[in-house]
């Protein structure tokens, strides 16, 4: 009971501390900016630890963070193999192919009105396909290796990317388009100098969604068949053995990879769309 109360007190204290840190212009220092999410995260972990101990939650249901950390450190070799299999081979290759395909499709759809009117409604329908349902089919078609995972990822990221790209390519003001018209700019010139830059905020938005979907897709697809390696495989098999500490370690691999990719995309976004009002604050 004392541990539970301690958890509560800790939570309130951290909340107060963060509130103080972000008031009165202190948030302009980059140290504070880094500190605040860290405090938040540490608090979540500490509260988790205290609650698990305080309420005596069985480790077969929810292990304490300290135990997860031990397992993680002890199994880095195993987890590295899973990371290579699922993230590097499955998710990232699928992400690259899917995004490239979506961009090409977006330009085609944008370029040929017939396609836009014909393909986009059909595309909307196809996109509505719950891709998880396709995972068993992809495993059937492309085998147990990473190729089937990449295929699932391609299908999963294609549509969000396409929608964002098409929306972005149309997100120009009338005057900006008029200007290009007075220059007699060709389609490709308008695309390159006006519409692609204007679309960038949307593209990054799509990319962020796509990158998280890619991780999820690759991991889920492993549930429908995989070699004896991979984050999804690890989660499923460790869960069956009630090794929940291992399950969470594998999840941590997925989360770390996902956050890193997301972080890289965010940095790139900041560098490339610095001019957008949402980046200027």
């Amino acid at each position: 009971m004392t541990l539970v109360i301690l958890a509560l007190v800790l939570w309130l204290a951290a909340w107060g501390l963060n509130g103080w840190l972000t008031r009165g212009g202190r948030d302009r220092s980059s140290l504070v900016r880094a500190l605040v999410p860290l405090i938040f995260g540490t608090t979540v972990l500490a509260v988790w630890e205290l609650l698990v101990r305080g309420l005596a939650v069985p480790p077969a249901i929810l292990p304490a963070p300290s135990r997860i950390a031990q397992t993680f450190v002890a199994s880095t070799g195993l987890l590295w193999g899973d990371f290579v299999q699922t993230i590097l081979k499955g998710a990232l290759s699928g992400l690259a192919i899917g995004v490239a395909a979506a961009l090409i499709a977006a330009i085609l759809v944008d370029r040929f009105d017939f396609l836009r009117r014909g393909l986009l409604p059909v595309g909307h329908f196809m996109a509505a396909l719950p891709i998880v349902g396709i995972a068993p089919i992809m495993v059937m078609w492309f085998g147990f290796g990473w190729q089937s995972k990449a295929a699932v990822v391609v299908l999963m990221v294609f549509f969000p990317m396409l929608v964002n790209a098409v929306a972005g390519l149309q997100d120009t003001t009338a005057q900006q388009r008029d200007l290009m018209r007075t220059y007699g700019a060709s389609y490709w010139q308008t695309l390159r100098m006006l519409r692609v830059p204007a679309a960038l905020p949307f593209l990054f938005n799509g990319l962020k969604i796509a990158s998280t979907l890619a991780m999820i897709g690759a991991i889920v697809a492993e549930f429908f068949g995989s070699p004896t390696q991979g984050v999804g495989f690890r989660i499923a098999s460790a869960n069956g053995a009630l090794r929940l500490d291992m399950v969470w370690s594998a999840i941590l691999v997925g989360a770390l990879a996902g956050s890193t990719v997301y972080g890289i995309i965010t940095l790139a976004e900041r560098a490339v769309t610095f001019w957008h009002p949402s980046q200027r604050t």
């Binding site: 999410p37 509505a128 719950p130 349902g133 956050s259 997301y262």
Partner: protein
Amino acid sequence: MREKVLPVLTVVLGILALWYLAAIPMNVREALTAAERAGAVVEGGSATERQQLPALRLVLLNPALALEGAWTQDRPRLPAPHQVAAELWSSVAGQPPGSNRSLLRHAGITLGATLAGFAIGSLAGILLAVGIVHNRAMDLSVMPWAIISQTIPIVALAPMIVVVLNSVGVQGLLPKAVISAYLSFFPVAVGMVKGLRTPDPMQIDLMRTWNASRAQIFWLLRLPASVPYLFASLKVAVAAALVGTIVGELPIQRGGLGARMLAGSYYGQTTQIWAALVMAAVLAAALVWFMGFLERRTLRAMGVPA
């Protein structure tokens, strides 16, 4: 009207033609094995040897057999469109709507959980976005973790979530709705944060000169300005909610399109998977269309040029 129908029809016909064509090489191996069992002579060696040859090569070696078996198998790798249509028809119209075998019943189960999850998720997403835009501490601390939360493969955790919720007595529609809410809150939160921050600095300055309260700036400026972003993300979110429900249904096996897909997969009934997939796509398309409809109505009411 004709301007829309013709291109769509062309594209659909094109896809169907491609589909039928693709079914030939996709299904050739099983077709040849079946023919061999029936006593036909098959080029390309034994089944194990044929495994090494590309599918197209096999089609060219045995064109007649390949064609014969392409669109009629019971367990095809790629069912032909008419097989899917037949399965769809029999499971929708051929069953009493309340029966366990009726796809309509399963679609209904999935729809219920999807709507519940979508409602919870989008509401949570909007509230989170409002908090993030208005509270610097939340902006700095929550956003990175909201992002990390999405990199957790919730889908992989679905069985665990079901078990854990089950252990605290939550059953039925809710565990599925929780997973679907988890997947749908994120696009809404991200889109709304962007949308609520979209008014340019001058418009906010103007509000400041009037000493508008935060609530007023929110209701009169940020919210209307965010509407296009809101609907864009609601469309993504409703599709995500459906995915979440289906994922939640996989382990539970108590009906719903997800259970149906898994059962189809479990018994190798590919056409059954495809029929459930098509049904799910119809459902999702309808939900997305409905969001688009609301969007058009709202934007028109806001005087945005068509």
